[in-house]
Amino acid sequence: MMHYVQDLFIIKCYTVRVKICQPIMGDKLMIKIQNLTKSFGRNIVLNNVSFEIGKGEIVGFLGPNGAGKSTTMNILTGFLSFTEGKIEIDGLDMFNFPNEAKKSIGYLPETPPLYPEMTVTEYLNFVYKLKGCKFDKKKHIEEILEVVKLTDVKDRVIGHLSKGYRQRIGIGQALIGNPKVIILDEPTVGLDPRQVVEIRNLIRTLGLTHTVILSTHILQEVQAVCDRVIVINRGKIVADKRTEDLASAVEGNRRLAVKICGPEKEVTQALRSLPGVYSAECLGNLDADSYSFVIESDSAIDIRKPMFALLARNGWPLIGAEASNVNLEDVFLSLINNTSASNAKKKRGSKKRNAN
């Protein structure tokens, strides 16, 4: 329940944010990637990827394992080079001016790059020097400790801290030098639910002043945080849309999860007979005396009232009902399945041609 409330809060924040951000977006181009290709030997990891990211955008990078998310991020940050294409960060070409371009990027890799023998402050001081920053050092680092809520542990050795703290140190490290672009590779992995919410809020506040790119497996995160989603699969961009557009693209069916005490077969049949219901599936009896069902129905019709009446007529108590919206997960899966299917078709087609 707590979770739900927090999610609601996030969504509220998110809508407010979009309103604030709209005039900023498109103001200036922050990242420009043109025809980026990367191959490891014969293995093509990224194939002709192009996208642009404006100032102040929060962009989510989605994709299954091995899709090329981390590779893209590693290339963007200059850790890896690229085979073909062009990358510009804040107008600076990554190939010709790598050091200047790197200065405007803060990067949190998949594993936070921490030295376990250093204390948090020592570590941040080191990163500060490494990046060659020119602020008031003490004040800057204190601010960052404050932002990522590490002030309590600032003098402790990193090796003794838990995963959640380490992740936050990693984020803190990315913020040092106040870079224009912040790139986060799975920033909420390994955090407890409360920390996840905190980090998401942090990312959103960062988005007000920075350009943020984050990759994630967690679709709610994208829904909650990002303005825009880039879905990548097998080294190609599958979708590049605003988050709302992406969700509405597949929306159409309503989904309802219900728990009913009653005989399995008859209840299923009765539910299927309701007007507007496309499908009703029994998931089994999780409790002692009730069965769980998932009902998919037309978005135009609310079946809850007729369903209740139907169940009441038959004397089957309804003990739980929960609406589950179509979420990014569905969109994501359908997008990825589409591309795999079309790829398979193409392959089959080319085989046929070869045979002929």
Binding site: G41, F79, P113, K131, Q173
Partner: protein, 259 residues
């Protein structure tokens, strides 16, 4: 570069490795010195000590270099270094300097002790010879001093340069693997090869090969210093090895970016 230098230098003292290196090196170094000079009686020779000390270097320097890049790779901290606005060359240079500082610091520290002890010892051993010679006007005090100085300072400089070359080789091996043990054993093996590459020369019947091995051998060039000859060619050779292997390390990282 300075940031990497300082971090690495401090890390050797916040982890046990720096202390372990210093303890082992100073103990073996001191023990060897004592065995070859103070306790050797009439066989006493500072040359003997200096000829042995390079073999110790081949074994203890990898203790320092084994973690330089292997650990960064294992901890994934190299991502931080390589995405920071510092060139790979400067990162390698920073790491090299930090390790070299520890090595040369320890070695010079040990040598100062050795020199002091040796001075006292040699004075007492050869006192009557020196006194006779002085009385006869054959030598001055300055001659005595310069003799000690040459027999110690020349080889010391050579050892410091060989150390630099060894550190560079160790760093290079370390950049190839993320396993510190592999890095350690590999470095020791390769350093010993560099030391003894010309040792079995009398078994090779083919002259050009012998000459080539002789040319490559770290030890053959070092021998000159032991006889009190200051050999600039050897200095250039050691400096070149150092430079070549640091350059190769940079290339390893460049290549991995492109792979």
């Amino acid at each position: 570069m300075f940031a990497v230098f300082k971090r690495d230098l401090v890390s050797y003292f916040t982890t046990p490795i720096g202390y372990v290196f210093m303890a082992i090196f100073l103990a073996i170094n001191g023990g060897l010195f004592s065995l070859m000079t103070l306790q050797a009686g009439s066989q006493s020779s500072i040359t003997g000590y200096f000829s042995m000390v390079t073999i110790i270097l081949a074994i203890v320097i990898p203790v320092l270099t084994m973690k330089s890049f292997s650990e960064e790779k294992k901890q994934k901290t190299e991502q931080l270094l390589l995405t920071s606005p510092v060139s790979i060359g400067k990162i390698v240079a920073g790491k090299f300097l930090s390790i070299y500082t520890i090595f040369s610091g320890t070695f010079i520290f040990g040598t100062l002790f050795n020199f002091t002890v040796y001075h006292e010892f040699a004075d007492s051993l050869y006192l009557w010879v020196v006194e006779d010679a002085k009385r006869a006007g054959a030598i001055t005090k300055w001659d005595v001093f310069s003799h000690y100085a040459l027999s110690i300072i020349g080889p010391t400089i050579a050892v410091l340069l060989i150390g630099a070359a060894f550190v560079a080789i160790g760093i290079f091996i370390s950049s190839l693997t993320e396993n510190q043990i592999v890095s350690l054993v590999g470095s020791i093996a390769i350093l010993l090869c560099f030391m003894f590459i010309a040792s079995f020369n009398n078994l090779i019947p083919f002259a050009p090969v012998r000459e080539l091995l002789e040319w490559l051998s770290v030890y053959s060039r070092y021998a000159n210093f032991l006889y009190g000859i200051f050999d600039p060619a050897a200095i250039v050779y050691y400096a070149s090895i150092c430079f070549v292997f640091l350059f190769l390390t940079v290339r390893v990282y460049e290549k991995r970016r492109w792979a």
